[in-house]
Point group: C2
Chain length 268, copies 2
């Protein structure tokens, strides 16, 4: 999906919600757990229930890898099931030396066919560029994450006061453009979004941490929105595990709808 197509989807659906498909096996209802591929069956019902209220889906690969080869199959089947109506994010936080990142790009863009993959910046340019070499695919680079551990290194600051996350934002813009790169910025630090917007005014930001992690939607929009909206706000547990009973899909639909309505108001 191109940047224009994504902006168009957001404008027409009046939502910039991304649903995080991170199914915790313990919270999947018994009736689904009995099926041949529970992760995929769970996702199918979640996608059917939420697709009107979101523009993107983001499976986190950890939840699939913990289920072995069957989980990896679910990651692929889930991508196919979503189709081309939504932006797809493989939340994988990969990154390795060049020939290895090329293999990851092959895995996520060619074999699994995701629009985008999240990448960790620690290993620098040649760990990121192999992903950017694929036409019409995106890198979503970690800048400032939502967890408390972000304080350990992301705020590490240089002589001139520049902090690591700022350095990542500045340096990486030499590698890609706002047509093939986005940044991860946690919703738990909305006040930082203002500083990040100053450094990357035209980039989309993927913002996790609304919901279970405590981030505030309005504050994120106030500081983070740009003229193209420029935000994909992710909620995972708060939507997909709103209920752990057989009505989980309808509960997910209601949870997604509530957020989408808030987004609609903000956009109006």
């Amino acid at each position: 999906m191109t940047r224009n197509e994504l902006v168009e989807a957001i404008r027409s659906k009046k939502t910039f919600l991304c649903v995080g498909l991170d199914p915790d096996p313990q919270k999947i209802p018994e009736s689904i757990r009995k099926l041949d591929n529970p992760l995929f069956e769970f996702n199918k019902r979640i996608i059917d229930a939420t697709k009107d209220y979101c523009v993107a889906y983001k499976p986190n690969t950890a939840f699939y890898e913990s289920q072995g080869a069957k989980g990896w199959e679910a990651l692929k089947k889930t991508r196919s099931y979503i189709g081309d109506s939504h932006f797809t994010i493989a939340d994988a936080k990969r990154g390795d030396i060049g020939n290895t990142s090329s293999m990851y790009a092959k895995a996520f863009f060619e074999d699994l066919n995701y629009d985008s993959v999240t990448v960790a910046p620690y290993m620098g340019s040649d760990s990121v560029q192999p992903f950017l070499a694929h036409d019409n695919r995106w890198v979503i680079l970690l800048a400032l994450t939502s967890n408390r551990g972000a304080d350990d290194f992301q705020f590490f600051s240089a002589k001139d006061g520049e902090r690591l996350f700022e350095k990542v934002l500045k340096t990486s813009q030499k590698w890609g453009s706002n047509e093939n790169m986005m940044y991860v910025v946690g919703a738990t630090r909305p006040e930082k979004l203002k500083e990040i917007r100053a450094l990357a005014p035209n980039y989309f930001l993927l913002v996790p941490g609304v919901g279970a992690q405590g981030g505030d939607l309005k504050a994120v929009c106030e500081y983070g929105m740009n003229h193209d909206v420029g935000l994909l706000i992710n909620s995972s547990r708060g939507i997909i595990h709103a209920s752990s009973e057989d009505d989980f899909d309808m509960a997910a639909r209601e949870a997604a709808k509530r957020i989408a309505q808030q987004m609609n108001e903000i956009l109006s």
Copy 2:
């Protein structure tokens, strides 16, 4: 495998070679490519041929993920085939928020049963600690990598001259010990090993980059060895793809033997 067991294996076999199991599908001979699970069949022959000359095996997950669910199966079968005689490293460079890192730990330590996993430090303490919560398993944290992109952020330096890789080395020692944590330090920067040894004298270092990436074994040992040897030196392409013909296993054996002989001399 515990630290003592690893040191004992190194002392008795007089080698500290780690063979990187990163099979490039293009370089696997036709006779193997025809089989049901080529990556696993290739690895079996490599393991049989090299096991006397190494103490560790390190599959890089990218090469398996690029082959889909079948690749993931190969990662698991390869681990079983290695058995408990060698230290096993899932070179996955993972790292995510706490509940997600827990899922990765489950995938690599419980489902796949690897002794260790490589982890990227960018997201800080709570992205690393879930791996350390598993008894008798190891985190191998990226400190200073072998690629040129390492210059982009790993040398980012603070007011007092401290660089990011040093900050990572210092901070992370509060999370684990030399019984459950190692560091990745690229062989392409042997002179830096001296500085790293000053900061982490008793930790094992996993050193990639000898061979195809140009690192020099003697220089690495001169600067990086400690009283317990403290080094696992990895070679991947230089061993497993020494030949792309049907004699690949014997060529791998010769390549591994040559490095092991150099190591034997250094240890004597």
